[in-house]
Amino acid sequence: MTIKFFKIAVMAMLLAFTTSCSDDDNNDDMNPPAENTKGSMYIKFDHVWGPAQDDFALNTDLTHPASGEELRFTKLRYYISNIELQNANGDTWKEEESYHIVDAENMSSGEVELELSDLPGGSYTGISYMIGVDSLRNVSGAQEGALDPAENMFWSWNTGYIFIKAEGESNMTSNGSFTYHLGGFSGPFKANQEKYHDFQGATLEISPADNPAVHVTVNAARFWHGGLSTEQVPMMHMPGEMAQTLATNFGGGFQFDHIHN
């Protein structure tokens, strides 16, 4: 009797010993997560037309306020990358893998929104981003997501991303269309550009409960700032000085408008 009991006891101990060897990764009940102060926000790009901020839409007749040209956009897409937010203490939060394509096809009442998550809670006083793709990622080979060359924002013959694509019709060009593929990240003429918007006293409040939004207006008429027209520049398909000019003209039309907390 005792020996049998002993055998069972040993086997039970062995069983307990051996089955308890496995690693238990699911310890959530044991270690509750730290209190979560992180939150999300939106950047909303409001596309407008001209300094009067008239409505902007694709496939819609528009008259340029300065040149008087009759234009229609069939396509407007651009990269927004390297997004950072600055808080009241001077600290900076950087979005990881920060690459987005803003496509006017996705406009809702002129707005395209980007959602950013996992920001540490607190008050933020400014935002910076790049219109385009930084030079490092232009030389990093085949990439995924927004940087996938199958997004058709990539030059196959002169490696690099097309930072801004604007295509459409014009009454003043010989073939009735305008086509701007703006890129170039090296040499004297870079078409990528960094923007910074101070919230001018307003603050962006991040917390788990809120979903605030920063509104940036984007003036699509601004390609032709400073007297340019599609008649003078009907197309642009390579890096260089004019690509840089068109890109920085357009980038100059990005302005901080307001915050919704």
Partner: protein, 339 residues
């Protein structure tokens, strides 16, 4: 007692089993860095070569479905029998019989190449295939269309799953698979390579040719790879229809400059120059000796040409023949798959 022992052994065997996966398979080695080569510029850390990835790349390389109307594959213009250059054509023929723009170069030792194409416009081996795939006179298929086609209408998802652990095909995976294959093609089996390693004795003519080559040609066709990767105007034309490097840098001083090609396998990759205008090595040497054409950007080392006697030209050509790597031509690992 035996029952207890058995239970004990079984318990120990099944106990403490990790959830970890099997240890990784032994590394597949189609790619080897020759000891006498400089360091490659591309490293496969971000794209480790596996047998499945390499075989996927090989299958893609020889697959005509990567072109519109399934007319041409990479292998159509990059043929192993010609050291992965084209079949003695100045300009390759793409879809619908369309003629290409520049001579198709041999694909080997690509991991040592920093910038691709005759004008160096492509800065990374992984994105190199996008150009021929999407070019209207080559394979003429948009990248997004190709990815969707392979995903929905072919047997490829399984091969991608074997290579990358997912049946989802992305352009990056396609391009990395092609890179695993193409990047593995190393040409280091020529008699010249064996000579460098003390395993081959040159003939008298080859020795003379080597000496002449080093004195007259190796300034540009330098080192083990026979190129310094610079862009030069070598006196082909006075006026340029093809701006070459100038189109990429937008600097007029670069107009008419093209990349110095490696001369490895040169006897196998005729015709020669960016537009394939010279069909024989004799014509090439005649050009350098008597045929240099003046232009503002002519490379200074060619200001007076490279005067050579007929005997000297013959000796140089004898040396150039030692650059042919016949092992590469017959290496079945890189050949068109049988199925």
């Amino acid at each position: 007692m035996r029952f207890t022992l058995a239970t004990l052994m079984v318990a120990l065997l099944i106990s403490c089993q990790d959830d970890k996966q099997e240890p990784p398979e032994a590394e597949f080695s189609a790619y080897e860095v020759p000891a006498h080569f400089p360091d490659p510029v591309y490293n496969f850390d971000g794209n480790p070569i596996t047998e499945k990835g390499f075989e996927l790349g090989r299958k893609l390389f020889y697959d005509k479905r990567l072109s519109r109307g399934q007319q041409v594959s990479c292998g159509s213009c990059h043929a192993q029998v010609h050291a992965f250059a084209d079949h003695a054509l100045p300009l390759s023929i793409g879809v619908d019989g369309k003629e290409g723009r520049r001579n198709s170069p041999g694909l080997y030792n690509l991991a040592w190449t920093e910038a691709f194409m005759w004008d160096g416009g492509i800065n990374h081996i992984e994105v190199m295939p996008i150009a021929p795939i999407t070019d209207s006179v080559e394979m003429d298929i948009p990248l997004s269309d190709l990815v969707e086609y392979l995903q929905t209408e072919t047997e490829y998802p399984e091969a991608f799953n074997a290579a990358f652990g997912s049946t989802e095909i992305t352009s990056a995976r396609l391009l990395k698979a092609l890179t695993q294959f193409q990047g593995s093609i190393v040409s280091d089996g020529s008699r010249y390579d064996k000579y460098l390693q003390g395993q081959y004795t040159m003939t008298v003519e080859q020795e003379r040719g080597l000496a002449l080559f080093e004195a007259n040609c190796a300034g540009c066709h330098a080192g083990v790879l026979q190129t310094d990767f610079s862009y030069r105007n070598n006196g082909l034309d006075a006026y340029f229809t093809d701006l070459g490097r100038g189109r990429i840098t937008q600097n007029p001083d670069d107009d008419g400059k093209f990349r110095v090609p490696s001369l490895r396998n040169v006897a196998l990759t005729n015709p020669y120059m960016h537009d394939g205008r010279f069909f024989t090595l004799e014509q090439v040497l005649d050009h350098y000796s008597e045929g240099i054409v003046e232009s503002p950007g002519l490379d200074p080392v060619l200001a007076n040409g490279i005067p050579l006697t007929e005997d000297e030209k013959e000796d140089i050509i004898e040396f150039l023949y030692t650059l042919s790597d016949f092992e590469l031509l017959g290496d079945l690992r890189f050949s068109e798959p049988l199925e």
